[in-house]
Symmetry: D3
Subunit: 242 residues, 6 copies
């Protein structure tokens, strides 16, 4: 089984980190292929960047030359999953939804700990649309930008642990979701420090994608996610920059 | 006051129709400038096309050479408004939200009548995110594609009237919202046939944009819609196709 | 175009202040007529007073001798708008709803800052009924009574600014709504101090009323707001006190 | 124990019918006193009439010369209960809420069957504000006006039974609430015909009022329903018509 | 009228206390019979114990040798009420729901103060299922275990008063519900200390049960709570332990 | 990895069918062990039976002599999962929640097709508590009892297909969930006939349980699902019937 794991930003080291986490979660026999968009922002921290990423991920997936069995969109709180579902016949799993859905099996309420405060409303909106917000205790920001997670891993852990502890003690979360693709790999540390299960979206998404493939399930094509109607589309695929 | 009214598809005749409707609603002294994206689909009827439109509208607005006071995004149920709000300091008004917000002042419940069934979930999702769904009685599809509205105006009116009547009698709507930029101009006919107020999103959005400008109000920049952080972005502006 | 702007209490100076704010927001050519009820409380700060105001505003509007194009009910969080909609064929705009509806175009969440703590539940209830509560971050009380706003403007500004800042920092509001007709005129000061857009309900309502009139839209009469059925009504109009 | 049962309209025969129903439900030793407002509409079927009734009921209760232990407001879906709670120290029970609250103990979902279609949104709004709507399957209209219930009792029973049956079979209601003070007395017939428990709001409210009195419970005065602040109020009590 | 009041745990002194509270609330002529389950936990503080109690209460009620007119399940936030409703033709009233339903008549919002933190989610879930959560301001834990309420009454009062005060000042509750059958008898003290009405679930449930009996109302049998279908059931009644 | 798959009723053939379905879904190396409760009803179709099953499943799991890695509770819409989570340190997956959670990845809305009408409210309640109801289009009953599914497989398929088609065309479901452990094995037929993905809860639950185990995740023990406090419990384990 081959699963494409698409980063939403153009930072290769982040793709590498995501792929590593995906491989650690994958079953034997699952091939993980990382995709880095050829355009877009070096990190996604807002709607403009997220909309651009939506298109860039669709572009990257459609440009992938070989066959594949499922796609994981590895940006937390980002736009675009619905578009991929229209374009593809194989399952598409968004890490925001995968993490939340997994957290529901582990405790009464969960909290998301993400990067910047400005990302919080995007995540809240994604969870609301996904119908996975009813048991979300809070979405908290660590205050670190996406790329700072890589640059300052120790400070990142501290900030994430601090918000996770507040989520547990004040918001009554019983599970923590790491709300950024770039946080892949921190879950052990956060779990040890907080004493609650920690869900990494990439890992969760890979196992869900594998399960859907194994069960022979894929996106329903009767209505919302039917293939685009045949029509004239200008500028797709997106032209390469000079 | 100059308001940019951005079509979401690449069909010029639809931009013309939207602009005509916008001008009819505008106050004396308001200049309406129509924008047609230079890339994207000839009509938006799904998520892939809508995500592409989100980027194309941002591109079109950012490419506009002169000053302007507000932007109306004239696609019903489409993605992208949040991105424009980040990129701009002037007010941005989405016609989906403008129409719903206006309908709330006219009756206890409203219904949206749109084009294809597959557009219904997109519209429901936009209204839910906007927090404008609590008094939405239903979103109904006429079964006509966007471009058929132009090609077969009589059949379009019939289909829209029929669904509007069902919305009033069965779903208890007291107001009808025309849920497609391409329906601009049909409101008189629908109102006469159903006996309820009919809201056209383009007209509603233009008056709301004018009001915001006049009141000196624009998008809050403290959090969700702060300008994108300075960072490396590849492929923006989107390169022109050869 | 003539818009009646009805104060909900019997304090003439408050009507004057509301009218001043309304005129500042009105388009050229809009005539603003202030109405002060001939009975009721000198300020509305609870349900008894608000119900009395509902009747008093209907009385004042029905007693107005000339023609008019729209009515603005200028009491924040008060009862009565639905009754006016039944009695009139022209649009009726409540400032509670106008302000909330306007705030939705300016930020992801808004907060209301009102007078006394006891007014908070009334406002929350109005917003819930209007279906405009989903993006309301909080309703906060400044602790000042309605009439104290006039008597102690400096203290009022301080108290309102303080609560607005808490709304922004703690409740994550991105827009502030001034939740009292008597706060008309404070928006510049609050905006400067908090850095977020501030919406005044009277100004918002006037522009919405103007827009509805210009678009030829008014209250749907098919169900909830149909004219009262012909029947025997004792004591209406309300007799004058001796 | 003396309970004032206030009709919301000026039709004495309807007060008599309500009082009869109240007495049938009351415990031995409970004195039921019927109040008919001295002003207002002969029946309440809309917001204007309901707001007038709110004031008229407060007037009637405040004019009552003797002591009393509780008040039942016997209009289904009407405004005003909150005002009474501010004015009084004894418990106030609204029949809309009493019936819904009682129905919750009898089945998984309940439906309300009321008079005219135009009353449905008022009732829905009251239930939403009361937080008693989550298990309401539907509010259905029999199509009969309030006064027709008295004039044509047989036709009334038929129409109410018909809607009740639809509520049970289509809306999955397991309990029927009779949604009009004037339906007092029809519950046996509706129960026999539909096979489900039928709740009459007047009877339910009387027993709740009795229980609150016996338990020594009354309206909380710490916030929403504190007594009106001392202030100048013009036209209260409402002057008598000449 | 005979009402069975079923304790959910096996502690006889707690049954005695519940019965005492029930008798104080009952009308003259109502006979209160206390039931203590013959199996289960000495106190219910979690789901395992609560599910066992659900079965134990059904067992105790079915084993009761004489006739009875209603059942009160006197465990706050426990499972099982729906099962009793299936097995019986007489009304069944759960104290969690009775208390919440009563609190709605007394103030705009209520809070529950219960025992251990781990009981909070169970109570929140019961209120959500009952559709009685919309006006619940908070569920707060005093930190005392059920049996400590009996053992250390003074400390219990202090802890409960402290949380009640926080509920009033911070969560804006206007009514306090004592969220444990074992708190029966503390309501006077909590009311005096907080100044808001305090509802005891046992007392509330007894008066509701009495009212339903007097009004001739009982559980609807058309769907959810129909009697169990005839079928083979092993191990029921539950065998006695040796 | 060993997963216990617990049937909720005492019918061995149904356990066999569930185990077969579980094994078909399990990854190589996963051992599926079926458990049949030693007491309870031969099928669960209501609350009494479901509460008894809750205890019986806990009993069966605790009586299992060997080690295991996860538990699947294979009754659709039944009580008890929370109790298991308290008693165990390994993951517990309920098929109601597993199926819903899986369906969310496959379409915009899903419907559940279950057995008898009386089971519908139980399922609706489970989904509401699980916070998985927001995208549930409907829960529909085929009208067949649980045991009839085995006895009359052809009629069962017809009835289930019919309701599934109505769910797709009328309720706008894009995915069907088979809402009964006894429907295991019908998914291919329903999918072929309706054209939408069909989710079987047992299969979904097995893959989720496997994933949780592989990711090292299990129930959070900090609050709701902490182990029961040490205390005196009578009648546990449940005595064997003579």
């Amino acid at each position: 089984m081959r699963i494409l794991v698409a980063n939403v930003n153009t930072t290769q080291s982040m793709t590498d980190s995501i792929v590593e986490q995906a491989r650690a979660a994958a079953a034997p026999g699952t091939e993980i292929v990382g995709l880095t968009p050829r355009f877009g922002a070096e990190s996604c921290e807002g709607n403009f960047e997220s909309y651009l990423a939506a298109i860039a991920v669709m572009d990257a997936v459609q440009s992938y030359p070989g066959p594949f069995d499922a796609v994981v969109q590895a940006g937390y709180g980002e736009h675009g999953r619905e578009g991929l579902q229209e374009l593809l016949d194989v399952p598409v799993v968004d890490i925001t939804e995968a993490a939340a859905s997994t957290a529901l099996f582990l405790g009464h309420k969960y909290s998301v700990v993400t990067t910047l405060d400005r990302a919080v409303p995007l995540i809240e909106d994604r969870l609301k649309l996904a119908g996975l917000d009813a048991r979300c205790a809070s979405v908290r920001a660590s205050g670190l930008a996406v790329l700072e997670l890589e640059e300052e891993p120790e400070r990142a852990v501290e900030a994430i642990v601090q918000q996770s502890e507040l989520a547990v003690t004040q918001d009554k979360a019983e599970v923590i979701v790491l709300g950024c693709g770039g946080m892949a790999g921190l879950n052990d540390q956060v779990r040890e420090r907080t004493g609650v299960p920690v869900v990494d979206g990439v890992a969760a998404a890979v196992t869900i994608a594998e399960s859907l493939v194994r069960l022979g399930l894929s996106t329903s094509k009767v209505r919302t996610y039917a293939a685009p109607r045949p029509k004239k589309v200008i500028g797709w695929p997106v032209p390469a920059a000079d």
